[in-house]
Each structure stands twice: as structure tokens, then as C-alpha cells.
């Protein structure tokens, strides 16, 4: 058995293509998805709706525009224009100052700004919100200092249009983890098993006294290990490059990921047993695993926004449950008590896939 695992490692390390898929793609993907989200904002087109038109609002507007992040394209007159401007897609953000802004700030030490954002691009919207808030906050701090400590605050009220809940923010790291573990585990195992079929070495393995379970474990063990290494790489990249936190227990995160890896491997084995050639296995992994993972797991498109039949279908997607689990651990920092159901679903899926594989594994050629 150990010899089998050793042989499998030789295959992986001696084939540079496998190595590229195993370690190159994860890094590239994380960086790609990452930078697609942390895109620097420059010259975002905004409009101002100023009901007050006083000293302070003009000053804030100037600050925003001179920051180089924003490009003022329009001054609006009433809130009726807001929606239509957004619909035209000309602008990404409207900053609304309430009536008597400067007076209120002076008298009550408090005034309101509303930021309306086009959240159909949630990531951009989130960034714009953060930048605008930052600029306004620094302005008010500066004012406090100038006026020697008289407290005043500008309260900022962001309003997200079109996708108020912003479902996909911070989804990318969990999503990429799910996607990549699926890719590496399922696709690589299915390819490596079908390769033996294609090369005719499967014939020799079959006539040996090895039991099906031994062949499967021998083939799969190296990939469990490598997937795990991959996971750590993604987490490190997420943490150091994109400040993705792990708020919950790291050990729990790794254990849940291990479960998901084993599940994906089970699926990979099943695919390889069904398909005859590497090509076929690859296509199956692509269509049966990758696309549903991307489209149906809630990775990119929020499940709540899907048509009901697709929502039902998404229940069958293992990554859906896994993404919920790791989001809970990484973002909310909660313990297993909050997602034992999802974990249980993954456990059942794992048992199902591995059971099916061992059962379906052909001790003969046809």
C-alpha cells in the first residue's frame, strides 16, 4: 500500500503539468479573484444631490472630488432624478446632503449624509462606500480639531440599491477554497485513475491481489495530502494578501476542509470509475463539478436570487454546504454548534460517494 502511495507521488512530481494544475492554478485563481475585488477605485463617476448648498457641503464635495477617487459628473436637483440616473448607468454613487446641513452641524453638532450606491456591483459599491465615508469622517475630525474640541459628527447612511444585502462580499475566499479543493481533489484523482485505464496499467493492477479499496486508497492518499497543502496556501494568501480573517477556530476549519476534500475525492473516484478516458473524466469533472460549484453553490450568485428549481438543485451541491461552513468559521467565528447540520450533510455525501465508488469499482475490465 505504501508502495502504491509512493508511486503515485512519483507520478505527480514528475509530471510538470500536474504540478502546474496543483499549485499554479490555486495561486493564480486566488490572486485573480482577489484582485478583481480589491480593484483600486479611480475616477468613479458620482453625482451630488445637495439640498443645502452651503459652505460645508461645498467643502466636502471638493474634498471628494480632489481625492482622485471620484469624478463629479452631475449635480442633481431632486431625489426623483436619482433612480433614473442610476438606471442609465451613468453613475455609481450619489451623495445626498440634507437640508440646512451646515446650520444643523453648527447648532446640533450633527448632520446627515446619505450615500446611495449601485450595488448591482456589490464589491465596487462597498469600496465606494468605504472611501466616501473615510473622506467625510476625516473631514469631520479635522473640523473638530479646528474648532478646538467642540463635538460634531456627520452621520453617514449608506443605501445600497439593487442588491441591498450585498450577498457576495467576502464570498470569494470561501468560494475559491471550495472551487479549488473540488478541482484538485475530484478532477486530479479522476484523471489519474482513468490514466491507468488508458495506459493499460489498470489491467495489471486488476490482476494483482490488490483489493479495490486498496487501489482507491493508494490513488487518493497523495491527493488528500496535496489538497491540504493547497488549502493552507490559499488561506495564507487570503490572509496576507487580502486580509481575509479567520475569526473562528483554525483547527475546526482545517478539519471541515479535510472532510470536504475526502468528499470531493470520493466524487472524483466515482467519476473515474464511470468514465473510460482521461478526456471523458476531465469533461465530466468540468461540467458535473466545476460549473455547478461556480454557478449553483452561492459562490458568485446568491442562492436566494435563483429561481426556485435551481435553489432546490443547489441543495445537492456539496460546495454550497461547505461554503456556509467556512463562512461561518472564517467570518462569523462561530463554533460547530452553528453548522453541525451542514457538516452532517457533507458527512453523508462523503459516505455515499465512497460507498458508491467501492461498490461500483470494477474488478474486471467491463
Amino acid at each position: 500500500m505504501w508502495a502504491f502511495v509512493k508511486k503515485e507521488f512519483f507520478h505527480i512530481f514528475r509530471d510538470y503539468r500536474t504540478m502546474v494544475i496543483l499549485f499554479g492554478i490555486p495561486v493564480v485563481q486566488v490572486l485573480l479573484f482577489g484582485f478583481a475585488i480589491t480593484n483600486d477605485i479611480k475616477d468613479a463617476r458620482i453625482a451630488i444631490l445637495d439640498y443645502s448648498k452651503d459652505e460645508v457641503t461645498r467643502e466636502i464635495t471638493n474634498k471628494l472630488v480632489s481625492s482622485n477617487y471620484f469624478l463629479l459628473v452631475d449635480n442633481l436637483e431632486s431625489d426623483k432624478q436619482v433612480e433614473s440616473e442610476f438606471r442609465k448607468g451613468k453613475i455609481k454613487q450619489v451623495v445626498v446632503f440634507e437640508q440646512g446641513f451646515a446650520k444643523k452641524l453648527e447648532k446640533e453638532g450633527k448632520a446627515n449624509v446619505q450615500i446611495i450606491l449601485d450595488a448591482s456591483e456589490p464589491n465596487t459599491a462597498n469600496m465606494l462606500n468605504a472611501y466616501t465615508s473615510g473622506i467625510i469622517n476625516s473631514y469631520s475630525l479635522q473640523k473638530i480639531r479646528e474648532s478646538s474640541g467642540i463635538p460634531m459628527s456627520i452621520s453617514i447612511e449608506p443605501k445600497m440599491l439593487f442588491n441591498p444585502e450585498q450577498k457576495s462580499v467576502y464570498m470569494f475566499v470561501p468560494g475559491v477554497i471550495a472551487l479549488l479543493l473540488m478541482l484538485v481533489s475530484a478532477m486530479m484523482t479522476s484523471i489519474s485513475i482513468t490514466r491507468e485505464k488508458e495506459l493499460g496499467t489498470m489491467e495489471a493492477l486488476l490482476v494483482s491481489p490488490l483489493k479495490p479499496i486498496q487501489i482507491i486508497i493508494g490513488k487518493v492518499t497523495p491527493y488528500v495530502f496535496l489538497s491540504f497543502v493547497n488549502l493552507v496556501v490559499i488561506l495564507l494568501l487570503g490572509f496576507f494578501v487580502f486580509d481575509m480573517p479567520v475569526n473562528g477556530s483554525l483547527i475546526l476549519l482545517l478539519l471541515e476542509s479535510l472532510l470536504f476534500i475526502v468528499m470531493a475525492l470520493g466524487l472524483g473516484i466515482l467519476i473515474s470509475i464511470i468514465s473510460k478516458t482521461q478526456q471523458q473524466a476531465m469533461m465530466m469533472s468540468m461540467f458535473a463539478l466545476m460549473l455547478p460549484t461556480i454557478l449553483l453553490s452561492g459562490f458568485i450568485f446568491p442562492i436566494e436570487n435563483m429561481p426556485v428549481p435551481l435553489q432546490w438543485l443547489s441543495h445537492l451541491m456539496p460546495p454550497r454546504w461547505f461554503i456556509i461552513i467556512i463562512k461561518n468559521i472564517m467570518l462569523k467565528g462561530v463554533g460547530i454548534g452553528y453548522f453541525w447540520k451542514e457538516t452532517l450533510i457533507l458527512v453523508f455525501m462523503t459516505i455515499f460517494f465512497i460507498g458508491m465508488s467501492v461498490k461500483k469499482f470494477k474488478i474486471r475490465l467491463e
Binding site: A3, F10, R14, G200, T201, A204, V207, I363
Partner: protein, 309 residues
């Protein structure tokens, strides 16, 4: 004690294609038995049934008294199988391949070194080399070593000499003869008719049928026809002209000659008449000789007979 094989009424088809038609055969212990036939004649299918890799549609096969369907686990232990495509891992070295196959059979290279010493010693100088960089002959010897590493009592070799140079082929057959002395029953398939005479007995196979099963010499002795080889200056239209001359004769190119296989009675009369016919057609330097058939001639004659039946 080496083992015997008993095959009875074995049939197998893949969809519309019939791979084996009611094959019955007994192979004696310690025999070097050859299956001779072109691609698609059913050799590989038969081997796969014997190694329990395929299930027959009907009929039975037993290896050492063990049923190929129900006792497959026991059969797999005592069989060494070398599939047609040399099942070696091309990204592993010679040594790694051998060690791997040894370990999946729960043995080691050291333990059974004696048995494969003959073969392995010839490729041992290259043991660190990757299989992808080996020549066909070396791959073949390595594959044989791998098939022998667990001391099988039955060795099944599917076209071991295909794609291997003539020198290596000769060497390989010598190795097989040595193996036979170590009490191993050997089944070997080959599309090369000239290798047939090296076997104890052969089965000539065609489209899932066995045309003949016998010692090579006996198959030659049982040749029912008269065989002539013909050579002239201008060989190109010769085959079609000879076919026109004698429609029931079997005419085919054979090396630098054309072979004519016929049932016609008197030898001298035939040669004389044919000579006249060819000279009349304008052929120069006509040589017609009586020829002792080789296995290929027998095969073609038997094939012709089975088709006309």
C-alpha cells in the same frame, strides 16, 4: 507442479462483434502454447477471460481446476499477465516499476531475484532510467520481469513481441524457453507466424474461431494442397494473372515470391502448364518451384477453407 487449463465452449461478443465463438481447448501443464492470428482474431479476449478480467457470455474456463469466473481471486494470484500494451509506468524508472509490481503482489525484488535474474540482468545496467527512455526490447524484458516477479505458475503474454526488433524477439523466445524449464505454463499470443514454430503447440485463430490446434510441425504436415513459389522479371501484374489462370487457387505475395496454393493433381504437369501460360503472357525469367509450406501458408489455406465452407 505447473498447471493446466481447460476451456469449454467459450463464447464472448461485444455488441454485434463476436470475439470468440465456442472455443474449446486443453492446455497441458508446462506447455508453451502459442495463439497465432491477426489483430481482432480473439486472442486478447481469450487471455482476458483466462485472467478473469472479462466474463464469458457462455462456456467455462478453468485454470488449475479453478473457475475463471468464481475463483478469480485465486487465479489472479497464480497468474503472471503481461498485457498487450506493456503495462509499465513510463514516468517511473526500471527499478521503481519492478519494486512497485513486487510490492502489490506482497513480495520483493530480492525475494524472487533468482527467477527473473536471467531477464533482469540484461536491463539492470539501466535500472535508474525512466521507462519512457527505454527501447521496445528493453520495455518488453522489463514487462516480463514485472509479470514474473511474484513467481506465477501460469504466464500469459499478450503479443509480447509486437513492436520489438528482430534480435530482441529472438532473445525473448530464448528467455521464454528458459522460463518453461522452471515449471511455468506459458500462453503467448503473436501476430508473427514465424514465431509459431517456437511453441510446443499452437492454435491458429481467425475471427474468434480456432482454425487448427496442433504442434507446428503437424499443422505443416497436414497441409492439404500443393504449394508453388513463382518468380519472374516483372512481378507487378503477376498475382492477378495467376489468379486468372487458376480461379480456385490461392495466390498471394510472399517475400520476393508469389505463392500459389492449389489442389491440382500432378506436380510436373502443373508446373509445365503454368510456365507455358506465363511465357505466353510475356513474362521473362519465369521460375516455378515446389515449396514446403510454413505456418503462414497453412494459416492462409485454413482461412480460405473456413471461408468457402
Amino acid at each position: 507442479m505447473s498447471i493446466n487449463i481447460n476451456i469449454q465452449n467459450l463464447s464472448k461478443s461485444f455488441g454485434e462483434t463476436i470475439a470468440l465463438k465456442e472455443i474449446s481447448l486443453d492446455i497441458k501443464p508446462n506447455e508453451l502454447f502459442g495463439f497465432i492470428g491477426p489483430d481482432g482474431s480473439g486472442k486478447t479476449t481469450l487471455f482476458r477471460i483466462l485472467t478473469s478480467l472479462l466474463l464469458p457470455d457462455s462456456g467455462t474456463a478453468t485454470v488449475d481446476g479453478l473457475d475463471a469466473v468464481t475463483d478469480y481471486k485465486k487465479i489472479r494470484k497464480l497468474t503472471g499477465y503481461m498485457p498487450g500494451r506493456f503495462s509499465l509506468y513510463s514516468d517511473l524508472s526500471v527499478e521503481e516499476n519492478l519494486n512497485f509490481y513486487a510490492s502489490i503482489f506482497n513480495t520483493s525484488l530480492e525475494e524472487n531475484y533468482d527467477l527473473i535474474k536471467d531477464i533482469y540482468s540484461r536491463i539492470e545496467p539501466f535500472k535508474k532510467r525512466r521507462v519512457s527512455a527505454l527501447s521496445g526490447g528493453m520495455k518488453q524484458k522489463l514487462a516480463l520481469s514485472c509479470a514474473l516477479i511474484h513467481k506465477p505458475k501460469l504466464l500469459i503474454l499478450d503479443e509480447p513481441t509486437t513492436g520489438v526488433d528482430a534480435v530482441s524477439r529472438k532473445e525473448f523466445w530464448e528467455l521464454l524457453k528458459n522460463m518453461q524449464e522452471k515449471n511455468i505454463t506459458i500462453l503467448v499470443s503473436t501476430p508473427y507466424m514465424d514465431e509459431a514454430s517456437l511453441c510446443d503447440r499452437i492454435a491458429l485463430m481467425q475471427n474468434g474461431n480456432m482454425l487448427a490446434v496442433n504442434r507446428p510441425q503437424q499443422i505443416i504436415d497436414q497441409y492439404e494442397r500443393q504449394l508453388f513459389e513463382v518468380k519472374t522479371e516483372n512481378m507487378h501484374p503477376l498475382v492477378s494473372d495467376l489468379e486468372k489462370y487458376n480461379r480456385e487457387a490461392l495466390v498471394y505475395r510472399f517475400g520476393e515470391y508469389v505463392h500459389v496454393s492449389t489442389y491440382n493433381g500432378d506436380e510436373r504437369e502443373y508446373v509445365f502448364a503454368l510456365q507455358g501460360y506465363l511465357t505466353g503472357k510475356g513474362y521473362d525469367q519465369v521460375i516455378i518451384q515446389k515449396k514446403i509450406p510454413v505456418i503462414e501458408d497453412c494459416f492462409l489455406a485454413l482461412m480460405d477453407k473456413s471461408q468457402t465452407l
